[in-house]
């Protein structure tokens, strides 16, 4: 059963919310996402006291008459980072869940799924001047740290996706899945380009564009004083007079974002905060062939 935003909003605690969504997603996939693991030889090392005896390479001792220890690398299928925008605008929500709520539920759910299939999942909470990171790990105990970090996120400050992109490019050493949960309200003109530029570094980039129903429909009639959620700006307008123009501008922005993602070969998912999250994730996973 898919969970709508209203139902989900009544569940307290991110862990419960994430688990509820995960179950929905798994029941929707009908297939275990567990891909298994493999152990791969990495190098030899001269034996030193304290090394595991069982890793001694007896064939090498026979050849060289010295003790060598085999070192192995435990290969995971995927490293992933859930980048959640925690700017002030993400705190906007008119359907029970704010955009940040939806973003972190989705991030938690995906993390849950990844760690469940023994992939590494990390999280980065970003805003202007903030980059709080939980590095990717695949251990089951790591999920708790991810959940805690997500749950502690508070919407404030300006959006700064350009800085986020630069930080990710620096911190991610090899191919990773980067999932960005944001409304992309960034004044920086190149912010989106720089996020999408991660794709050129072989990262798998997926953008989750979080949009509230009120932003899509602009359902205001009476003269209203609109205030900014990131800075002190405000404007008094008659919404009826500008509705057509607003909707035109906003839809153009949504389309431009989507087109930019497609052009950069990145996954793009527009997420309405009032639609069932598991449905969104199923749509996303379905587009990727049921795999992360």
């Amino acid at each position: 059963m898919l969970l709508d935003a209203a139902t989900l909003s009544r569940i307290t605690g991110l862990k419960l919310r994430a688990r509820a969504v995960v179950e929905g997603v798994l029941s929707g996939l009908h297939k275990s996402p567990n891909q298994g693991q493999s152990v791969e030889f990495a190098e030899h090392k001269e034996y030193a006291p304290g090394d595991e005896i069982r890793h001694l390479d007896w064939k090498a001792y026979g050849k060289f008459d010295k003790y060598y220890v085999k070192r192995y690398e435990h290969e995971t299928n995927l490293r992933s980072v859930m980048v959640v925008d925690t700017s002030g605008s993400m705190g906007f929500g008119t359907t029970g869940l704010s955009k940040l709520d939806v973003g972190r539920i989705m991030a938690a759910t995906l993390s849950h799924l990844l760690i469940r299939q023994q992939d590494a999942a990390g999280v980065a909470l970003v805003a202007q001047g903030r980059f709080a990171e939980i590095p990717p790990r695949s251990s089951a105990g790591h999920l708790g740290a991810v959940m805690d970090a997500l749950e502690s996120a508070v919407p404030s400050g300006l959006t700064d996706l350009a800085m986020t992109a630069d930080a990710l490019a620096e911190k991610l050493p090899r191919r990773s899945l980067v999932c960005v949960f944001s409304d992309f309200f960034d004044d920086h003109q190149d912010a989106l380009k720089r996020i999408l530029a991660l794709r050129s570094r072989k990262h798998d980039v997926a953008l989750f564009h979080l949009v509230d129903k009120a932003e899509l429909e602009f359902p205001y009639d009476d003269p209203t004083l609109f205030t900014s959620m990131e800075d002190g700006r405000h404007v008094e307008v008659n919404p009826r007079e500008i509705r057509a123009s607003y909707l035109e501008e906003f839809n153009r922005f949504l389309d431009a974002t989507r087109d930019a993602c497609r052009a950069a070969d990145c996954d793009y998912e527009r997420v309405r905060t009032d639609e069932p999250i598991d449905e969104v994730l199923l749509r996303f996973l379905g587009r990727r062939g049921g795999k992360l």
Binding site: M229, E241, Y246
Partner: protein, 696 residues
Amino acid sequence: MTFGQPWFLLGMLAAFIPLLVHLFDRRRPREVPFAALDFVLRSQRRTASRLKLKRLLLYLLRTLVLLAIPIALARPSFATQDLAAARRGVAATAIVLDTSLALRWEGRTRLFEVAKDEARAALRNLAPEEPATVVICSRTPTSVAPVGFERARLVNAIEDATPGYEAVDLNRCLEVAARSLDDSPLPNRRLVLVSALTQSSLRLESSPPLGAGLKGEKVKPEFVVRDVAKGKELPNRALVDVHAEAAPQLGPRAWQFTFTVRNFSKEAARDVELLLEVDGEVVQKGFVDLAAEGTAQKTLSWKFAKGGVTTVTGRLEADALPEDDAHSVVLSVPRALTALVINGSPSPQKYKDEAFFTEAALAATGSPVRAVLRDADAAWREKLSDYDVVLLLNVEAPPAEAADRLAEFVNAGGGLFVSVGDRVDPDAWNQSMGGVLPRKLRVIKTAVEPGQGDADTRAARLTQVALNHPVMVPFTGRAREGLLSTRFYRYALFEGDAQGVETEVLGTMDDGAPVFLSARRGKGRVFVFCSTVDRDWSDLPIRTSFLPLMQRIAGWLTGTLDEREEIRAKVGESVTLKPDPNQSPAWARAGSGAEVALTALPQGDGVTGGPMPEPGPYLVVDAKGATLEKLGFAVSIDAGASNLSRHSLDALSDWLGEESVRTSGSGGPESSTPLWTWLITLAVIAFFFEGLLLRK
């Protein structure tokens, strides 16, 4: 501009409401944190100028609605006479409605309809306390009801009015209207003239009429002129005359019609179509070119297939006033006549034969008469009823049996012509034909022996000719002189009139002896010539007048001469007809069915009736409803009425002095839709657009 309910104008203060709302409506807007504020700001910047214009338009439309509604409720009008009334106080009012031919002029709307609207508007604009009357100005204005407050009666009088076919005397109507106001107890008088202001109906030479004040003093009323033509010219062309005459050169029963067309407009017209209609059927077509304010004539001819009474109409290509584009005449086309010519003195030598000249005259080209020649002995065996007329040329007195047949023939409607000569014995003729002849023969008188040297100078001559007789009508001018120069060497003298017998003498000698005598006997006619129709006793046969004279005598004897050609009646005039004794005309019936009673004139001078109400052919019927075909006639429109030249408004202002002159084109109450309706419509439209702007 005046207002019927001025208190409603206070409602115009509501027009300030939008402004006050704009100035003082400072409701605290709801504060809403919004994530996509950048898009709101961008949209506001983008729509700012358009919104400003929209708000301005909204403000204007709302103000317009709030202004238009109270003004409409106040019932505004542009009636200047109301201003005058307000200035001079209430006034007794007489509305003069022009019904002249000009009001039939039809542009987009017939002027008379405009005139009625104007009259109704003038009535409507009167204050309730103003008494009024209406004068329908026809040719002869009828008596006018005294001024009163019965508006419905006046409206009915306007509704019942119809335009005429002639010019009217507006000066006279204004005088009548002014007098009708004399009994009013109000000190002020007002005359409202609703007219096309044509010069033919309104004369500015005489001064405007004055009314009598409360103490009998002369008072100049206030004048308000409503020009139904709205200051425009009324171009018109008219077929003002048709002259019909026989055209024997073109064959028997051929006639030619000369149409006179006048162009009263200031623009020339080319190739104006002119149709010739016979009994309603178009038989000929022609075109005329008309100079500006010029006159042109066009002649069309037509050969009638048979004789009888025929209505011929000339019809001009219709213009804005089609009523004067047609002109009718009623003709009596001579029917083919058969004449029995009885030659009393035949001769193998043509020129000495008694009937030679007469037969030649009757058989001339275009003559409707077919002559059958017989000598006296053979003639009496003929069946007289087969002939229309019998000509006895120097015949011995008919035997008793033949005389009886001749008398019977005449009484039954036949025509008898008698010329004398050496075979005529007065006593014998008197004995056998005395009852038929107009007068009895007395003796044969010889003025001079023919052939004598001085015969031409001593011969007797005609001195007087009755030109009013149908036979003699053509002999005017040089034709008359030619007839009067006829020499008579020998001629018959007649007895005086017998008692109770009416004889017409159509010509007399210098000694007073009758030359031509005519009389009616029963239904027939008798014509006697006192001399010979060959050259023995007179040189008349070789005169140019002989041929038409003989043809007309034959025509008159058979009753086919069109005596009614002379009836050239105009609309509004009376018509006098001269019926045969056995006819008793009672009504003249117009094409529209309108009937005019005909009354007998004293002393049997015919019947008269009128005025004729409309142009066109009229049928004459007797009391039993039978049509008297030969008495039919046509009535035409007077050319003066077709002249629609108008007085200028300046000239009218000068004539009326300082009084107001206004036209119906100024958007006043003459408009069929009142002003308040337009204001309400404007308000609704403004309201609609306001809603449209709000929806956007």
